[in-house]
Symmetry: C2
Subunit: 361 residues, 2 copies
């Protein structure tokens, strides 16, 4: 199978190398990148070279940011080629449009690498959804945030210092806003919840960043046997659902509190299967590229079906109630209301979903 | 699709009910059970009624114990029907024979429910194995053992008392030997490692039960920030591998130490994907039956390929080295040697694989 690759950053380069190294019968015929590489005849700076190449069956998109990726994805689908993408920002910006276009064109559109890095999260959601009803999703889906909190916790340092270390080690971007402000987790939550609940979730669900987390807040929580993880949280009941992204209070003896460094851990709860958790590398060139390779193998083997999300879901924020931990004390309320309050007062807030924090005894 | 069900214990009954409740186009036409139920015309006590029924495409086997299940599985394959089994004892007793017969007959043979209960462990091993090289497997694969250790740890009670509670709650059998002696974990390790390493592992790898675990041992470990989990552990390097089942020493801040009650958690490490962990209910009627339903849907949709394990693997116990914690102190050595010593002296031993217990900093 001949494919094209869009983008040649860490993930694109790793994907190219993995495909060269492995005997999967998948060949990168063209590479779209801004700077032409005179030594690599596959490289082009024109998307048309790829769209018009009839030998290219599938395009692997490893660009970053919403545009031009979103437009490219649609142009590729319209050209009748299959698509594998790692780009959560582009996918989340018009998930409904992309899935519907893929359905209309009969093209396969896979995006395992977009959410949870190398963790087989998307595929397992699809698998479980087929036979069970998924009633809750939650998870640590951003490795940068987790690295920072883990560092603050272990070394007793402040946010800014942990962020600087993350940047110097390459775990955080020079501009870390998308990670620590929650937008990256928001994108992954939008994609995951829509798939799990079989309908498109609304775009303006509540998000609170973790920029205002302090060492003192972690110390206070530690005295209660708790800590913070930056997570998405979502509940569903029939056609009603709620979803939010915020710092969450978790017990020290929970699985989540023991997810270290830049690892991710995502959970789904089904009526029959109960709670399943999936843990692994949520970022990094090779792990992310590996998830793309698995998707490419699915395209090669034609082992996929279109995702048709058919339910009309109704947002109901009363589904997520708990306790907000503010610098000035605790307050019971809905996640959505507590996030509004934290934003208005411009303070830190971590949300405790008590159901999750009961002692399992 | 019409199927037959072998066995009508907790899992068989749950499977029957799930299939009735869900609109999956899978109908249980016959049920094999010892005691005929006059109210259910599907019930038979003769395997021939099932083998000779040409409408039955697939048989779901939820018997317990090795025989007659193993013979039935082979008879079903020979009759040209597909097989879904939850029976680790029967499968592990002749895994090679069963896979080869399935391959020869062209029948689909799936067994997700045999290892890790409802956790999509087997499918994810197959998925990752297709593109990456799996170099290690480990995991908590027995809910009964985990329930007992967790109980001892939290309540500071002795093994016998925790076992009695597990029995009264239905988490342990009246005869708990297969669980606490390690045979159940052994079966799951044999199946998982063979699949992951793409070759049949030898049948007589080292196993040590956890019957001799004491409250004092847990207290001593706690002082070091550690505890015990009953696990399989396996390493592979090229065509060499080692595998063992024993009580393992894990750090309190590891994921495994925070797996509570009767939950399971299994990990695989691939060269490219790194470490992936899968957590969920390892037993129970509905969760286990749900894994069988997923397999039945795969058979229904013909979405499977035969498992052909082609590598000749060489057992090399030098691949697993660490520290044995005995009642009389610690001792460095190979897992296999330390197990032999514990058996000879008839004492408890828990193995610390130091690689796993390094501080991730």
């Amino acid at each position: 199978m001949k494919i094209a690759l869009l983008g040649y950053g860490t993930v694109g380069r790793s994907l190219d190398e993995l495909l060269k190294r492995r005997d999967l019968n998948i060949e990168v015929k063209r590479i779209l990148r801004r700077n032409k590489d005179p030594k690599d005849s596959r490289v082009t700076d024109s998307i048309d070279d790829i769209l018009q190449d009839e030998e290219i069956v599938c395009v692997a998109e490893a660009l970053s940011g919403r545009e031009p990726a979103d437009s490219y994805l649609k142009m590729i689908m319209e050209s009748g080629k299959h698509v594998v993408s790692a780009n959560k920002a582009a996918i989340a910006s018009d998930f409904e449009g992309l899935l519907k276009l893929a359905g209309k064109m009969g093209t396969t559109f896979l995006f395992e690498a977009s959410s949870g890095g190398t963790i087989p999260w998307i595929e397992n959601i699809k698998e479980i959804r087929e036979t069970d009803e998924i009633v809750s999703l939650k998870g640590i889906l951003n490795g940068t945030c987790n690295f920072i909190i883990d560092k603050m916790e272990r070394e007793g340092i402040e946010f800014e210092d942990a962020l600087r270390t993350a940047q110097s080690l390459g775990y955080a971007e020079a501009d870390p806003t998308a990670d620590i402000g929650g937008h990256d987790t928001y994108n992954k939550a939008l994609i995951s919840c829509s798939l799990a609940y079989n309908g498109f979730v609304k775009k303006d669900f509540p998000v609170l960043g973790m920029e205002k987390l302090t060492r003192d807040m972690l110390k206070e929580l530690e005295a209660e046997g708790k800590t913070v993880r930056f997570m998405m949280l979502s509940e569903r009941s029939g056609d009603r659902y709620a979803v939010g992204v915020a710092p969450m209070v978790v017990r020290k003896d929970s699985i989540e509190a023991n997810v270290r460094q830049n690892f991710n851990c995502a959970s789904l709860t089904g009526v029959t299967v109960g709670e399943l958790k999936f843990y692994g590398q949520g970022s990094g060139g090779y792990p992310t590229a590996d998830a793309m390779v698995r998707d490419l193998v699915r395209v090669r083997d034609k082992k996929t079906e279109p995702d048709i999300l058919e339910k009309k879901l109704v947002y109901d924020d009363s589904l997520i109630e708990g306790v907000g931990y503010f610098p000035f004390g605790k307050k019971r309320g809905l996640l959505s209301e507590l996030i509004v309050e934290a934003r208005k007062k411009d303070v830190f807030m971590a949300f405790e979903h008590e159901e999750d924090n009961e002692v399992n005894a």
